[in-house]
């Protein structure tokens, strides 16, 4: 089969595949739309199955206003992104893998926003983290993509660990992992002594996921992902998972000073810092990524309040932002795809070449900048109204909002105007409009921004109001209107636009100023992260060198020293040493066995040749077998004897092959070994003596003695226990023996192969 044939077969298969993938978000969205009515009527729907009932973990789903809004975003934007990806990744050799990851992400994200159980929520939370890692690193041949993927994974997964602890604590304090039950026990949680750690742990998880300062640095780096992924995960859905969590747990954790101040300050800091950083970027995609940070900071800031207007502003903004940001990401992707660059300075005058894309960009950009009659305008007005309604710090919140929005206006203007108007660089003359699948998504999303801007009532009743009700836990009426009359929010809007236009006009100068300022800044969070990772790696290296040096003697010394120290410590703490023992009365043959043991031991210690030492140890073993035999344990004696024999043969054969030139050691080393050996010997002996002084005879022994013949038809109790009463244990032990033998054989075999390879003169990796 030739290359082109493979390609065309791939294409035809791809179309079927794309339709199948597209069916998933379409079906999900349709299903969710049918739930709109019931949720509005009943408040919340529940369905699910038991999962781990003993731990109170259920695969349980809760559909209320809040979760439905986020789920619809996941499904709806998912449709547009799937269509877009079909055009963007046309003919990509790893298309199937891409769709697998994308569907995995959809599953995780839907599960996350619909979860009705804290543990279930966490599991889906981690699935989205993993899917994000896979998608950022999709271009796995690029070192940048790999680094970004790992960074995103580590930051969000570390946050995830904090979240897990926080959720478990929350579940314990609320005495249920069921979300509905937890939501109903807010008062109990807030007054609990563990409230502060719970809040901090959960909020760290949310902040890591939603990229709040100082954990924001992974999100701009995540732009290494293909653009459909950036549009979907890293602007419209996954990064809002932290926001969802904050909103979800609002009824439980909010309304404390800690909550309010943390969220307001961190959110404001994120919005302002990211807005400044966004202005610096010359890469369109990066500029958009930083404005996503602005949006996430703004959302956090508003959710710090429990005022209904502020919360309504946050929820409306979630929708507004998802529409225009996903559209703009796709627009930038089209520009990149068709013109081959995303650099502002290399682009211009493409409006005639990409007319449909330009229309989509313009509509989305106007919504982003907050021009009437787009939905963005309503969102912004509501934000200002909400900011002024926040009782504690209206000036701070409103100031941060105005500042961030003004810079958003400038960035929106940059993204929409720079590539499309002005003079066209000669390199771009061959640029042509993209295919339908590429421009359809952004155009429809931008159109939605306009439709809902003209008819905000469509959103207010169906989505925003139920979500706000769910967050605040009390019925709220939310009205969205385009025209509020001349009031403070409108004046702030005018101020925002004026500021934004000014920044846009003076943009180049400001960018120069910012890059000069950046040079004075000693550290960036990204570089700090690299430093931390390098330190971790270095620490791991040193600690591995120190602990896992590969010298067998060293390991044995550590093990024996630990045995001796542990035993002696227990002996001292458990009330000291055994009572004094009398001189034992033994028969001659017992004395003889004892003498054999002692002689074997002394010979093993005294002799220098390893083979002799092993044989002496064997003699000692035989002496011990005799002792077993004299004291009524023939089974153990036979086993001891056989194991001793086989062991001797095995070790002798191994020693035969080892280079033992350095077997003779200096006196100081031998003294150290002697001390260690004596310590282990004394500790074990004392422990055995102490054990023997405990009262003996257990009920199980009596039971086995009585039951062996009538129940198991055997007179050898040891054997009956092994093969009948405790057969499962024996089976486990045999499997262990098997695994040990196979493992040892593999090790010996690999050594043998290496030796024979060396003998043949072929070099292999050591």
């Amino acid at each position: 089969m030739t290359h082109s044939e493979v390609h065309s077969v791939g294409r035809r298969g791809d179309t079927v595949l794309q339709l199948m993938v597209l069916a998933v978000p379409v079906a999900v969205t349709v299903w969710l739309l049918t739930l709109l009515g019931p949720v509005r009527a009943q408040g919340a729907l529940r369905f699910g199955i038991e999962w781990v009932p003993s731990l109170g973990v259920a695969l349980d789903f809760l559909v209320d206003g809040l979760s439905l809004l986020f789920a619809l975003l996941v499904g709806g934007i998912g449709i547009f992104v799937t269509v877009y990806a079909a055009g963007y990744l046309r003919g990509h050799p790893l298309l199937r893998r891409f769709y697998l990851y994308l569907l995995l992400f959809m599953l995780g994200m839907l599960g996350l926003v619909l979860a009705g159980n804290l543990i279930t929520l966490f599991v889906f939370w981690e699935i989205t983290t993993l899917a994000s890692y896979l998608l950022i690193g999709f271009d796995h041949a690029s070192a940048t993509a790999r680094r970004s993927a790992l960074q995103a994974l580590l930051v969000t997964a570390l946050g995830g660990l904090a979240l897990l602890v926080g959720l478990v604590l929350l579940g314990m304090v609320a005495s249920s992992f069921d979300l509905a039950a937890v939501l109903a026990r807010g008062e109990q949680v807030r007054q609990h002594a563990l409230y502060t750690p719970i809040f901090l742990l959960i909020i760290i998880g949310a902040f890591a996921k939603s990229a709040q300062v100082p954990l924001h640095f992974w999100l701009p780096n995540a732009m290494a992902a293909p653009t459909p992924v950036s549009a979907y995960l890293h602007s419209a859905t996954m990064v809002k998972a932290g926001i969802y969590l904050i909103a979800r747990l609002h009824p439980v954790l909010a309304s404390t000073d800690l909550w309010m101040w943390t969220l307001t300050l961190v959110g404001a800091a994120t919005a302002v810092i990211a807005a400044v950083l966004a202005l610096r970027q010359t890469d369109l995609k990066l500029a958009l990524a930083y404005t996503t940070l602005v949006a996430l900071g703004t959302l956090t800031m508003f959710l710090g309040s429990d005022d209904s207007v502020a919360v309504a502003a946050a929820i409306t903004f979630v929708l507004v932002h998802s529409f225009y940001k996903a559209a703009l990401f796709m627009v930038v992707g089209i520009v990149d795809h068709q013109a081959g660059t995303r650099e502002i300075n290399a682009l211009g005058g493409l409006a005639g070449r990409l007319p449909v894309t330009f229309v989509a960009a313009l509509a989305a950009g106007l919504s982003m900048a907050g021009f009437p009659p787009f939905l963005g305008f309503i969102g912004k007005e509501l934000k200002y109204e909400g900011a002024l309604a926040i009782a504690t710090e209206p000036v701070l919140v409103a100031g941060a909002a105005v500042f961030a929005n003004a810079l958003m206006v400038a960035v929106a203007a940059t993204v929409v105007l720079k590539p499309f108007v002005g003079s066209r660089p000669p390199a771009l003359t061959a640029t042509r409009e993209a295919s339908v699948s590429l421009w359809l998504g952004p155009l429809l999303l931008a159109a939605l921004g306009l439709t809902f801007g003209l008819a905000p009532g469509l959103l207010a009743d169906t989505l925003v109001q139920p979500a706000v009700t769910a967050i605040l836990g009390r019925p709220e009426t939310v009205k969205l209107k385009l025209w509020h009359g001349v009031n403070v929010p409108l004046l702030l809007s005018v101020l925002t636009l004026a500021l934004g236009v000014a920044v846009f006009v003076w943009q180049r100068r400001m960018r120069d100023l910012l890059s000069r300022a950046a040079r004075w800044l000693p550290l960036s969070a990204d570089r700090l992260w690299d430093g931390a990772l390098a330190a971790l790696r270095r620490g791991a290296y040193l600690h591995t060198r120190w602990l896992q040096h590969g010298v067998l003697k060293g390991y044995l010394a550590v093990v024996f020293a630990a045995v001796a120290a542990g035993l002696l410590w227990v002996l001292v703490h458990s009330g000291g040493l055994p009572e004094q023992l009398g001189w034992p009365r033994l028969t001659v043959k017992e004395w003889a066995a004892l003498a054999l043991v002692l002689a074997g031991t002394l010979a093993a210690v005294g002799c220098r040749a390893p083979l002799t030492a092993i044989c002496s140890l064997g003699a000692m073993g035989v002496g011990i077998a005799l002792i077993y035999l004299f004291f009524g344990a023939p089974d153990v004696a036979i086993t001891q004897l056989l194991v001793e024999t086989l062991f001797l043969v095995l070790v002798a054969m191994i020693l035969h092959r080892l280079p033992l030139a350095n077997a003779v050691r200096g006196p100081r080393v031998r003294l150290g070994h002697a001390l260690l050996a004596s310590a282990v010997g004394i500790a074990v002996s004392l422990a055995i003596l102490l054990v023997l002084q405990q009262p003996f005879g257990s009920p199980t022994k009596n039971y086995f003695e009585l039951a062996a013949v009538p129940e198991a038809f055997g007179r050898n109790i040891v054997n009956v226990i092994l093969v009948d009463f405790r057969a499962l244990d024996t089976f486990g032990e045999v499997v262990v023996v098997l695994i040990a033998a196979v493992g040892a054989a593999a090790l010996l075999g690999s050594r043998r192969r290496a030796l024979s390879a060396r003998a043949q003169g072929t070099r292999r990796n050591p």
Binding site: V643, V718, N719, V723, D724, F731, A740, A741, L748
Partner: protein
């Protein structure tokens, strides 16, 4: 290190050792013995063979791969636990069948327990030989 004396003695000893191992296996339920001990004795027979000639000879004498023998033994032991579970008892419950019993004599006892012990025997034999044969040098 090839010794005619050792080789001659081994020729005599190996069948005796193997027979003895089966004897130890079968009498284990009532007297000292059992699958583990018997497996070690049988392994000793093959190791003796390896010492007298070489490991290749011992491997040939065993005929099948020791790892397979060990795995088969473990499988047999596991399967012997199944019949007990089929009648609603816990797995590894012993089932007994006495053939040809008369007055004062129960007859020939056959049981899943014996099957289990045979499995242990084969598993131990196979495991020890797997380890030992790995010392072979080409």
């Amino acid at each position: 290190m090839k010794s005619i004396v050792l080789q001659g003695t081994t020729r005599l000893l190996v069948p005796l050792l193997l027979l003895f191992s089966v004897y130890m296996l079968l009498r284990g339920h009532n007297l000292p013995g059992g699958g583990f001990i018997a497996g070690l004795i049988a392994a000793a027979a093959f190791i003796l063979c390896a010492l007298a000639w070489d490991i290749r000879t011992a491997r040939a004498a065993l005929r099948i791969s020791p790892a397979r023998l060990a795995a088969g033994g473990a499988l047999l032991a596991a399967l012997s636990g199944v019949p007990g579970a089929l009648w609603g008892n816990p797995p590894f419950t012993g089932l007994w069948l006495f053939i040809g019993g008369g007055a004062g004599d129960k007859g020939l006892p056959l049981s899943t327990v014996l099957l289990f012990d045979v499995g242990i025997y084969l598993a131990v034999l196979g495991a020890v030989l797997t380890l030992f044969f790995a010392l072979e040098e080409d």
